[in-house]
Symmetry: C2
């Protein structure tokens, strides 16, 4: 097993941010101030074309850390600090071509994200192994997963095979490559979609939500286009993890 | 205009409960402790077969009062302290007959609730007139509406014609008699449905949500049957009113 190496550390507003690597995988771990008790861990998957410290990641992490959680994000292959392969470049060029031509981007995104998920799922499992070696996380603490868009394309196959993850927030993806794996997921799920999404047809989003086998699952559909997911859904995700990972929220000054 | 007469008053846990009448209409007003500043008002509609002080009403009111709101509920005609007419008795008998025969109850509920809404909408408007005469509410304060099931069958036509109501929480009804009025509603809406509702088909619930013209609307769909609406949706409704009626939530000890 590859162990976790911290490469940088900084602190602000009661949150400690530590860059790390697990083998070739670069990641970031946001945590409550040192000295806090052992706390539950939320793994977050970033969106396509972004990276582990994109504003959506650091903003959600800030809310989760304030509620008492550790939060870890890793760069997906081809993203952030990781090199792009010729295959990555071809798929990205194809996505831009489809967009410029006014063609639906779903077929390209679904195919490329499924390819990335194949690479990313074992990386996430190795990262979780290494994170659980840390004293402040531990091998038997609760673990959640939070990822929208590409974070769902990677998270659904991850949660389907990873019994340590016991609650998940997903959203905004097509069912094509994911519904079969969603049918194997039974842990509590919160799922966000945009009611007027110009990329993901409404029925497609509803079909993916429907596929989860979880008896405890909630759909949040908001009026608006693909990029208009309301910020209050991040607060809802925090409450969801507080309910399911057993951490009483303590808001810090 | 008919004025509001208080007929009983009690207090517990920082909540004042005052029974009132407006003409023939019996109601209850739950309020923060006397002496508090003028506060926004939430009108709540009760479910079919229940009444103004049913546990769902007093429980939701307790949460809303703790967040700083006044909450008013009136008995719908044929419910609570109000007499049943021969027409009420026939419709209720028909509902029980349909249930016992294993027939869908939708056609009876939709028809009877539409009839009750015709009576209840002008009663709500007269009650709101009278409530706004109270110094602690006032004529220009924010007003919300919160009603599920029959509370939606009455609330949708009410909010469609009542410009004083600027935010509404609805849910769990058929679109048949309501979609046309929902298309005239443009205020922020939160809408709850049960994903596995044995009475209201999934597509019917989605069609009613879709009908609202509001650009700010959110659907919350939870796994489970008709009566299994999770209690955390009441907390979500409180947060919705805090966002939209402009009241900062102050949780009281």
């Amino acid at each position: 097993m590859q162990s976790l190496q911290f490469t940088a550390e900084s602190s602000s507003n009661g949150t400690t941010e530590r860059d790390f690597t697990v083998g070739e995988i670069p990641g970031v771990l946001w945590s409550p101030a040192p000295g806090a008790d052992r706390a539950p861990l939320v793994l977050m998957g970033h969106g396509g074309g972004t990276h582990k410290k994109a504003p959506a990641m650091s903003g959600r992490a800030q809310r989760l850390v304030a509620a008492g959680f550790h939060v870890a994000v890793i760069d997906t292959p081809g993203h952030g600090d990781r090199p792009r392969t010729a295959h990555d470049e071809r798929e990205i060029a194809e996505l831009y071509r489809a967009r410029a031509a006014g063609e639906p981007e779903g077929p390209v995104v679904v195919r490329y994200n499924a390819y990335l998920a194949e690479l990313a799922v074992p990386e996430w499992r190795a990262t979780l192994d290494a994170l659980q070696e840390l004293a402040e996380i531990g091998a038997d603490g609760p673990v959640g997963y939070f990822g929208i868009n590409m974070g769902t394309a990677i998270g659904v196959p991850l949660v389907a095979v990873e019994p340590r993850i016991t609650a998940a927030v997903f959203g905004q993806h097509w069912p094509d490559a994911l519904a079969e794996q969603a049918r194997r997921i039974t842990v509590p799920v919160e799922f966000a979609m945009q009611w007027d999404d110009e990329h993901i047809p409404r029925d497609a989003a509803l079909a993916l939500f429907d596929a989860f086998a979880s008896t405890d699952k909630t759909l949040h559909a908001n009026a608006g286009r693909h990029k208009e997911l309301p910020r209050f859904e991040a607060d809802s995700a925090v409450r969801f993890f507080v309910r399911h990972l057993g951490r009483a929220a303590v808001t810090r000054a």
